[in-house]
Amino acid sequence: MGSKRIIYMDHSATTYVRKEVVEAMAPYHAEHFGNPSSIYSIARESKKAIDAARKQAARALGAEPDEIYFTSGGSESDNWAIKGVALANRKKGNHIITSKIEHHAVLHTCEYLEKEGFTVTYLPVDQYGLVDPAGLEEAITDRTVLISIMYANNEIGTIEPVAELGAIARRHKIPFHTDAVQAVGNIPIDVKSQNIDLLSLSSHKFYGPKGTGVLYIRKGITIDNLIHGGGQERRRRAGTENIAGIVGLGKAIELATADIEGHNRRIRALRDRLLNGILAKIPHSRLNGHPEKRLPGNINISFEFIEGESMLLWLDDEGICASTGSACTSGSLEPSHVLLATGLPVEISHGSLRLTLGNVNTDADVDFVIEVLPKVVSRLREMSPLYKKSGKEGGSNVQ
């Protein structure tokens, strides 16, 4: 073992921090450590750094700098957007619309609000994971105070018709929030033309540091505070700023959005070769999510007759980092709520594998996974009682 080669294909879980970002952050630990709320000169360095990062984030989203609020990450941003808008508009109504495939940071926040007297509509998705705009429009009532639909799904990579959903919300004068944690750096975002009122993002998904995120709040949106305390972030989000983290986020978002098309072209080419290689070599496998409307680095495949965690353990043994929608890694016995919402049978959901490609991946990585994965799958199938029972040897792929 020792210097085993690691093939990291779990970029949707998190990314490494790129060198330029580490360098940008470095002075803000020991050197420019001043509290930006203080008035002496060394504190001004911190204040300036935050202002610069705010501009970088605003530019990346097509927003104004004073619409950018720094948070501790995607979960806080989602919590703030949903609780903040719901509670601030309580007198107007108590109805929230979201989808069945949201991240738990959205779903569990909505469930919490249900206990507080809100009613929540969880919109279904089609077999590809797409929310139907007509279904959204039908779900709106005169009590609806918030619509929250994710930009792109973290498991199956499906990209939602956000601009269209946002336009419906705008027409009904209902605030529209989108969890764009997986989208930033992969999809060009423009909050104005895409009718987005609130947007959550997290720095560690685009080669920035963990523990920093943004909630974009369009001017004029009524929202309560989530974190109460000092007057930071224009009195909307208390707590001494994570200066180094914010600086890192600013640099990372600038780099991630500088050439999205070029980045996507490279990642998509690797992804498609890997995907086609897997589907060609492994029978009884199917792609989950949308064939085209999906994140450039995302692959989510179900392999029949086997279970995902045992697949991950073997892949890890080969140095390949991946993830699964199987129950066995989630701490519950239910498989992925996203796969189930697309109508995938429960037993097949257990055998799903997510590979998410990113900057570190190379052609050699793709070749290696195409070589190793079929062996892992057949080894597990050989000991699976389901494989024998089905009597299927060879055969064609279901897509």
């Binding site: 701490g331 016995l333 037993e347």
Partner: protein
Amino acid sequence: MYSDKVMDHFKNPRNVGEIENASGVGEVGNPVCGDIMNIYLKVENNVITDAKFKTFGCGAAIASSSMATELIRGKTLEEAWEVSNKAVAEALEGLPPIKMHCSVLAEEGIHKAINDYRKKQGLEPWVEKNPHSHEHGETTCRH
């Protein structure tokens, strides 16, 4: 998260396969829950002379099947009946709490295979002593 012993039995599972014309077969679990275990026994003069398994499931389920078949080989049916899920888990140097149900599945698989044998012999199946006393961990699949 898994002990070295679990990883060893996962990566080098003992006794994988089926036994043709097995004396007894125990099929337990449910694909909806993410694990199915089939235990095959060959019984001669009341002794388990061979035990094999086929399992669809996570690392702990495969390791539990492997260990369970190891533990019952060479034992009399009475002795094998006494192999508890706890014994399987202990032999594996422990399982994470959420994976204890995998060892329960192994115990149930052994019991079902033994009773399958007894039925084939025209004998009364043995009754589970404490069907609910297993350490299921925090979760049991309700399907």
